[in-house]
């Protein structure tokens, strides 16, 4: 192996542009050709490597930049250490999740509506299965909406009809259409801590379904005003 490693060693020296001691004309020509072609090859490989290395750390780097920015701002306004600690923890908690939410949003927005429906079916299938009672309630409402005398869910029926018209020819059942209509409205949303999700004062639009599930260990409080 000695001979091979001598070759490999000198090959590394050639890459670094070291003196290789050529004396005769063919040796000089050989070294010039190797160095010139090697320069292009090295530029290509190391250029690609540099881009890839930058890509690998980009996400964590941008998150760290935000935390650094917050640290500087907190230092400038002389916030107490306890509050700074809470803020840092808050950043650490939400930054990773917000990046995931952004990735999901980008992904969902770049696929076709039919694929979106299939993705949502997969994402929310278990939740829908677990929440039979709520779904049944909504389904009953949907059935009520079929009644022309029911004013409350007329707009729901209208929106359902939009869904029904093109897909009905595919032989899908009413239940399928109903679930698809729910799935089309489902999505994920990242909410900051301490935010009002739904307020009792908000006027609901007819047919809006206010169902939500907390994910990733989230918690929420429900306050009912008299």
């Amino acid at each position: 192996m000695f001979l091979y490693f001598v070759c490999l060693y000198y090959s590394c020296l050639v890459i670094g542009g070291n003196e290789m001691g050529p004396k005769e004309l063919p040796e000089l020509i050989f070294m010039v050709v190797i160095n010139l072609t090697g320069a292009i090859f090295q530029a290509y490989i190391f250029g690609e490597l540099a881009v890839l290395i930058a890509q690998v750390g980009r996400k964590s780097q941008s998150q760290q930049e935000r935390i650094d920015n917050a640290n500087t701002a907190m230092e400038n306004v002389s916030l107490p250490e306890l509050l700074r600690k809470d803020i840092r923890e808050y950043y650490q908690t939400i930054l990773q999740t917000s990046a995931q939410q952004e990735e999901l949003d980008t992904f969902i927005n770049t696929i076709s509506p039919s694929l979106q429906l299939r993705v949502r079916s997969k994402m929310f299938h278990n939740i829908l299965k677990e929440q039979n009672a709520i779904i049944i309630q909504t389904y009953k409402n949907y059935q009520d909406a079929s009644n022309p005398n029911n004013d409350k869910f007329k707009s729901l029926k209208k929106s359902m009809a939009k869904v029904e018209r093109p897909i009905a020819s595919d032989g899908k059942t009413r239940g399928d259409l109903f679930f698809e209509s729910i799935l089309q409205r489902l999505g994920t949303q990242l909410l900051s801590p301490d935010i009002d999700i739904v307020s009792q004062d908000t006027k609901e639009e007819h047919g809006e379904l206010y169902m939500f599930w907390t994910g990733a260990g989230g918690k929420c409080k429900v306050k009912v005003r008299d």
Binding site: L8, G21, E24, L52, V56, I136, D176
Partner: protein, 239 residues
């Protein structure tokens, strides 16, 4: 909530129906994905992808041992080299035919399944000429030029890049794999330059043996004081 029990059979049935339909859809898509007709092989076919992995593995072997046998160790892997050479040559020939029958995605992302277009696409690409030219290094060939042409099999190693780019893995892992790929390419480059360099300096030494007025190329670590006696060690078989 009592009015609508959690175990309402209709809803469970509806969810089950929807799930079954989705599974059927996926199954039917799975059955058609990667299949091609008329003796063609789909570029998405799992076996086609495995074939690419095999060819890449064999090409790595060739890229390491062909230059090594030309320049440094002329009897490396003997006596197994000849049967291995026959086997790898057969795989390379098969690979050209497999490529001529493999579908490809056009610029609109549509899989082209027209045999003529496929042949035209591969035969019109530089990769085809490099692949065919590299077959010039047939088993048992002694000609140094043909052996050097065999190094063109490195072209097949470059397929790693396409496989990694088209793989469906997390972008972090993908970047890491691409970094490893480029580093591996760099090592192959070092290997080739190292072998080429030794091939060349050996020629200068042979020239010196014929005519003592010609100075052999002495590696730089021996250049300054000559105490390591590189060529003497080489002559004594210290390899």
């Amino acid at each position: 909530m009592d009015e609508f029990p959690r175990t309402e059979p209709n809803v469970v049935l509806m969810i089950h129906d929807l799930e079954s339909k989705m599974k059927d859809d996926l199954r039917s898509q799975g059955a058609t994905a990667g299949s091609a007709t008329g003796g063609l092989i789909s570029c998405k076919n799992a076996w086609r992808i495995r074939w690419s992995y095999l060819i890449i593995f064999v090409a790595i072997y060739s890229v390491i041992f062909i230059p090594m046998r030309i320049a440094v160790y002329k009897d490396a892997l003997d006596p197994w080299y000849t049967p291995l050479d026959f086997f790898t040559f057969l795989l390379y020939v098969l690979d050209v035919f497999v490529n001529l029958r493999t579908t490809y995605l056009d610029s609109f992302g549509e899989e082209i399944q027209d045999a003529k277009k496929i042949m035209k696409n591969y035969a019109g690409s530089p990769g085809f000429y490099i692949d065919v030219l590299s077959l010039g290094n047939y088993p048992m060939s002694d000609h140094p030029i043909l052996s050097i042409i065999g190094i063109l099999k490195v072209n097949r190693v470059l397929r790693i890049s396409t496989l990694v780019k088209e793989s469906n893995m997390d972008k972090g892992y993908k970047s890491m794999l691409m970094m490893l790929y480029y580093y591996f390419l760099f090592i192959i480059y070092l290997h080739l330059v190292g072998c080429m360099w030794f091939y060349f300096i050996e020629q200068t030494y042979n020239e010196y043996l014929k005519d003592s007025r010609y100075q052999p190329w002495i590696p730089p670590y021996d250049y300054y004081d000559g105490a390591d006696n590189f060529w003497e060690r080489y002559e004594q078989g210290d390899q």
